[in-house]
């Protein structure tokens, strides 16, 4: 593409990007960069990557088990050839500048050869103190792996403790112990650096009042996760540490170590604790026992993420989680019973109350890791007063040093989706300085495929125990024995954690050694791990469709865990099914199509423009369509951010850049009228300009950045009294008419107007910050001004908490109200009268106000998203915003391949957050475009012309109008267009159509296998 030329100028030949930190953020960033064909070096100071999330049990709001959702990503990062993974490695120093950094990294000795170590555990068996041990609660020696699917899969030795290396070497049959292993230092050059070092969790033992680290049954949120986790110390059985009994009353205490309540606390809000406490409470009741009492002691419920408010409501309404708004004073243990009594006082009655619980969970938040502070010094980047990487609102992932980007919790406290978005954004930015690597063919990754036609059937059967998940319920060995005897089975083996690198290597060896030509894996769901095992096949030179995953875990040992015998029987039957099914499988070739390299961006607001610029800067042609007559969107009505940056200037500069960009075609006054095509090759019809001229845009990806509406509910006299206005109105007034503002003596702000209520149940996220922002600006204008903020929960999440504290310090009065007792705003001629009930004073207040400011927040642009989702077949959330593909791991991707979402079209966001997601969406789009071709899979319908009666039934029933009767007079199905639903195959009266991978004989073979012994 010649358009590259002018970019390459500012790009050094250096392609590599350094990613520091192997947590979710780091992995996401590394994957994005690798997918967009940038070389990546991923380092982590720990001995295996995965970070915090791998220690969680399930994640809100989907309550999925994360090991299952994340491990494919981890193994993916292992697979990506462009990623060089370096555990136990840290940065020494960084020289040079953006585009040409020279980074010295130091890798600690592991004393174990990762390639050789089979994690048999013998070493720890013998010398527990010498070998690394999992921190926290996990008593499962032997393993130093934080979680079962650890990457890489190996131990590490604590050399200081080792007194006799010989002895250690003797126990290791694999000969993996390397006493002479030494620390290695190397200097590599990088174009850019992504910092994703995350943070530590607060250790509550420094607090004396809650008994953290003192009482057995007081645990941190993370420890509680481990207790519930299937891979945890109790294999997912909920028991309290003191007596291994199932607790019947569990309490959570929020903000432990955060929001500056205690001396040892950090001032900021950790942003995740409210949701994880709710999740833990819900899962406790959902999975363990309805009758376990769950109570949460909190100050403000900060459920301000996408659909989080619904999650809060269902916790209370559906799961009966009890919420107590207060600051608990102390936790005291009864030494006899190990029970714990919590002393607390609520706003309503000031007298102290005492309640007894079996178990107390301390919701501890994030702490900046001391080592990261040093690292920041070595990187030469500024940190804020809390020790988080300093960034700007309009450059949300750029640190103070050009070419170094930050994402995840090391930038500020945030949850997984936020981290994933920021990671993709950082990757997107970091990738700009580096041209993509030349396109390798997948064949280069894998050996050529063997021709197995004519070979006798040699099926290999491998059964995972998935830790306790399978092995804890059924006798894996017995299953292996029984399946070993089945027809066509060459060998059967138990492989522990089948998805672990070690087991995979073992299987690969066996496949090659025994010349297996079909493989059946008894493990977890093919939905999560199929790709992984298909890659395994390909590495063995076998077609990826010659492996069958039998879903022993999700569909046998999990649901039937309490009927082990039946589960055993069923497992065998399922294996028989899989074996006879795969026996009929044929090697299949996949269809690929080149991806159109153009980009369609829908919506010309902050998000849309940022995505457009980022992609255009990298040589892609971008079509930016905007419904309005000018660019800018909602942000045009915003003057400043909470931190005080000037939004107006930013927007006009952005618009200028976009309009003058030679690769962006801006089309205002434009609507989308039709859409067709397949992933990678879309054609979208638009009508543009005054004349509504029709034209068609060919594009490979699309970014939905259609924004949201500024909510203006007709409540509290809004629109009826000129002294009642929204925060947005006020923001403008302060800027444009300062005098009138200065003259105000008393101002009342009302929060959650039109949000968190029926019709718009979600939290608008930004209102609390805007209220605080404007309150402070009013104080600047007139320090004497009396400001009352009537709120339900103050949700100044993360670092915004500072401004909340500041506002309180400067005398802004925050008065809470319950939705049942809403404030009243009455017309008092010139001014207004506001009535509200103060729960602390316990009496109604009357406030006369010169102005009433309503925090009205956002409303989803239901009409627009509905039209577009119809046209593009996209999914939406109930509130009418666009729905992402995976709320945790793919927050900017949409369900239709090649479609991405950014900004408030996804959920309420600050400008900063919109920009971040815009960059993320652009980055994800770039990754997809970098693939050049899109894989359409192999499960397509094929017609046997000899059998076809040309009856047209397939032509008529195909939901996508693909089949046609060709010149030779029989039906033909273009594999590039076939979606692979198989409807035609099922309807064909001549049985002339087969859906590859699901051929009739394969399905019948499965049935035969299933009923083997009956026939």
């Amino acid at each position: 593409m010649k358009e590259y030329s002018d970019i390459e100028a500012k790009q050094s030949g250096n392609r590599a990007v350094l990613v520091i930190g192997g947590g979710m953020g780091g992995i996401r960033a590394a994957l994005d960069l690798a997918e967009s064909r940038r070389d990546v070096v991923l380092i982590d100071k720990s001995y295996s990557i995965g970070g915090l999330m791998t220690r969680l049990d399930r994640t809100f709001p989907t309550n999925n088990c994360d090991l299952c959702t994340i491990s494919p990503h981890l193994s993916e990062s292992g697979r990506q050839l462009l990623i060089d993974l370096k555990p136990m490695t840290e940065v020494e120093k960084v020289e040079g500048e953006a585009g040409d950094f020279r980074v010295t990294i130091k890798t600690k000795p592991r004393y174990i050869d990762v390639e050789k170590c089979t994690a048999c555990g013998e070493c720890v068996e013998k010398f527990p103190d010498w070998v690394h041990f999992t921190p926290g609660l996990d008593p499962r020696a032997p393993t130093c792996m934080r979680y079962p699917q650890a990457t890489p899969y190996a131990f590490s030795v604590d050399a200081e403790k080792v007194t006799d290396f010989k002895a250690l070497q003797e126990v290791c049959r694999a000969g993996a112990i390397v006493p002479e292993d030494r620390e290695r230092t190397e200097t590599l050059s990088f174009a850019s650096i992504v910092l994703a070092t995350g943070a530590e969790l607060f250790d509550p033992s420094v607090l004396d009042n809650f008994g953290g680290g003192k009482y057995d049954n007081v645990v941190t949120g993370l420890e509680y996760e481990r207790i519930m986790s299937a891979s945890g110390p109790t294999q997912g059985w909920l028991e309290r540490p003191s007596d291994r009994k199932r607790p019947s009353r569990v309490a959570w205490i929020q903000c432990v170590g955060s929001r500056g309540i205690n001396s040892a606390d950090v001032p900021y809000c950790s942003g995740v604790c409210c949701m994880y406490a709710l999740k833990e409470a819900i899962v406790t009741r959902e999975r363990f026992a309805e009758d376990i009492e769950t109570s949460i002691f909190y100050m403000d419920m900060r459920t301000c993420g996408k659909d989080y408010e619904l999650y809060l409501n269902s916790a209370v309404d559906d799961y009966g989680v009890r919420l107590i708004r207060c600051r608990p004073h102390s936790v005291v243990e009864d030494p006899e019973t190990g029970n714990l009594s919590i002393t607390y006082a609520t706003d309503e009655e000031s007298c102290h109350k005492i309640e007894v619980f079996d178990m107390v969970v301390l919701s501890t938040g994030f702490r900046v890791d001391e080592q990261v502070l040093e690292l920041a010094g070595r990187l030469g980047i500024d940190l804020d007063e809390h020790g988080f990487a300093q960034t700007e609102n309009f450059k949300p992932v750029a640190t103070s040093r050009p070419g170094i980007y930050a994402c995840g919790v090391c930038e500020s406290p945030k949850d997984i989706p936020e981290t994933m978005i920021q990671a993709s954004a950082a990757a997107a930015e970091a990738g700009i300085q580096t041209p993509p690597a030349p396109q390798e063919q997948e064949e280069e990754f894998f050996p050529p495929e063997k021709d197995i036609s004519g070979e006798p059937l040699r099926v290999g059967v491998f059964v995972c125990d998935c830790g306790a998940n399978i092995g804890g319920v059924i006798e894996v060995d017995e299953l292996v024995r029984n399946t070993g005897g089945l027809a066509g089975v060459e060998l059967a083996e138990a492989v522990g954690y089948g998805c672990s690198s070690e087991s995979i290597n073992r299987m690969e060896q066996l496949i090659t050694a025994k010349g297996l030509n079909r493989v059946v894996i008894g493990g977890c769901s093919p939905r999560t791990h199929e790709t992984k095992f298909q890659d395994m096949m390909r590495r063995c030179g076998l077609n990826k469709y010659l492996v069958e995953i039998v879903n022993l875990r999700d569909q046998d040992t999990w649901p039937h865990m309490d009927q082990p015998e039946d589960a055993q029987e069923k497992a065998f039957r399922l294996m028989e099914m899989g074996i006879s099914g795969i026996s009929k499988a044929r090697p299949l070739t996949e269809n690929t199509l080149p991806i159109n390299q153009n980009v369609l961006v829908v919506g010309g607001g902050v998000a849309g423009m940022n995505s457009a610029l980022l992609l255009a800067d990298q040589g892609f042609r971008v079509y930016l369509v905007e419904r309005e007559k000018e660019l800018g969107g909602l942000a045009r009505n915003i003057r400043t951010t909470l931190e005080g940056e000037h939004v107006g200037a930013y927007i006009s500069d952005l618009i200028e850049k976009v309009n003058s960009h030679n690769r962006i075609q801006v089309m205002t006054r434009t609507i989308i009228v039709d859409h067709k095509g397949r992933p990678g090759r879309y054609t979208t019809g638009i009508q543009t300009g005054r004349g509504m001229h029709y034209m068609q845009i060919e594009h490979g990806v699309a970014i939905m950045a259609t924004g949201a509406l500024a909510n203006r509910p007709s409540q509290y006299l809004l629109g009826k009294h000129d002294k009642v206005m929204t925060q947005m109105d006020l923001d403008v007034k302060i800027e444009d008419d300062p005098q009138s503002v200065r003259d105000m003596d008393q101002v009342v702000m009302i929060q959650c107007v039109g949000s968190r209520e029926p019709g718009n149940p979600n939290c608008s996220r930004i209102c609390c910050q805007s209220a605080v922002k404007n309150a402070l600006r009013l104080k600047d204008a007139n320090s004497e001004m009396q400001i009352f903020v009537l709120y339900r929960d103050i949700r100044t999440y993360g670092l915004y908490e500072d401004y909340y504290r500041e506002a309180r310090r400067r005398g802004v009065r925050f008065i809470r109200y319950e939705p049942e007792k809403r404030p009243e705003v009455r017309d008092a001629g010139e001014g207004l009268e506001v009535g509200v009930y103060d729960p602390i004073l316990g009496l109604p207040l009357e406030i006369s106000a010169d102005a009433v400011i309503l925090s009205t927040g956002f409303a989803a642009d239901d009409e627009t998203t509905e039209d577009l989702s119809m046209m593009f077949h996209l999914t939406r959330s109930d509130d009418g915003s666009f729905l992402e593909d995976h709320v945790k791991l793919r927050p900017s991707d949409m369900s239709v391949p090649g479609f991405f979402v950014a900004g408030t079209a996804h959920s309420p966001k600050s400008i900063r957050e919109s920009i971040t997601q815009a960059q993320a969406a652009a980055g994800r789009a770039r990754s997809l475009l970098a693939r050049q071709v899109i894989n359409l899979g192999a499960a397509v319908a094929k017609v046997d012309g000899a059998k076809c009666a040309a009856c047209l039934i397939c032509v008529r029933v195909c939901p996508f109008n693909v089949p046609f009767i060709n010149a030779d007079g029989y039906s033909e199905i273009d594999p590039a267009l076939c979606h692979g639903c198989g409807t035609c195959a099922a309807e064909c009266p001549a049985r002339a159509i087969q859906l590859m991978r699901y051929e009739d004989d394969q399905i019948l073979a499965k049935l035969e296998g299933l009923f083997e012994r009956m026939n």
Binding site: A949, A950, I953
Partner: protein, 222 residues
């Protein structure tokens, strides 16, 4: 195309019950197209019969064969080998096919598994309707391409009877009044006056009334 519908299982079961080994013959022509006698239906019927008899305590052997066309002796010849190992033939072809098979294998009982219905056209997926009665003297040229013989319940040749209501036939509101269709079509063609010409009493000799019909093409026949 020739359309057909499967006979009630009861009837089919009655036919085959005396036998232990059945040759089930489908046809890949018309009956496949109208989803009644192709490979798919053959396997379905086979499976259904076997299960039925299994319930009766009898294992019924069924060979499934689907011929390209059962109304051509050459194709029927393909049954030669399989037919010996069967006590009877169950054909899912139209009457023509069944008879061709019966004619070829005189010593074997042959049963129809479908009722041959009519010469029809498919209106849409799964819907077929009668279009032609093979009267042997086509009047479509006069009646604007709609046949009153096949499509008027009374085969009226000179316009609609008094029962035509809102374009539908008096015997069933699902049936279009052929004469309404003809009238609309003639109007569209600007040939209204056609309707006034009396169509004389029809000579039915060319149709079935003239006795079984036969076509002999001297130029082709051997």
């Amino acid at each position: 195309m020739i359309t057909a519908v499967r006979k009630p299982m009861e009837e089919i079961i009655a036919c085959v019950s005396p036998y232990d080994r059945i040759l089930l013959a489908g046809c890949n022509e018309c009956v496949s197209v109208c989803s009644v006698g192709g490979r798919k239906e053959v396997s379905l019927l086979s499976s259904a019969l076997q299960m039925h008899f299994l319930k009766q305590g009898k294992t019924l052997e069924i060979q499934e064969v689907t011929l390209e066309r059962q109304c051509d002796p050459e194709y029927v010849e393909e049954l030669v080998n399989s037919v010996d190992s069967a006590d009877a033939v169950l054909s899912m072809a139209c009457g023509c096919g069944v008879q061709t098979v019966a004619a070829r294998f005189r010593e074997k009982p042959v049963f129809p598994a479908v009722n041959t219905a009519f010469m029809g056209a498919s209106e849409r997926q799964g819907v077929w309707s009668e279009r032609c009665q093979g009267c042997g003297d086509c009047v479509l040229g006069i009646t604007g391409g709609i046949c009153p013989i096949a499509r008027c319940s009374k085969r009226l040749m000179n316009g609609p009877c008094g029962g035509s209501t809102k374009g539908k036939c008096e015997i069933d509101t699902d049936i279009d009044c052929a004469w309404q269709l003809i009238w609309d079509r003639l109007k569209a063609l600007g040939l209204e006056n056609r309707i006034e010409e009396i169509m004389e009493a029809k000579d039915w000799r060319t149709s079935r009334d003239g006795g079984p019909r036969k076509i002999v093409r001297e130029d082709l026949a051997s």
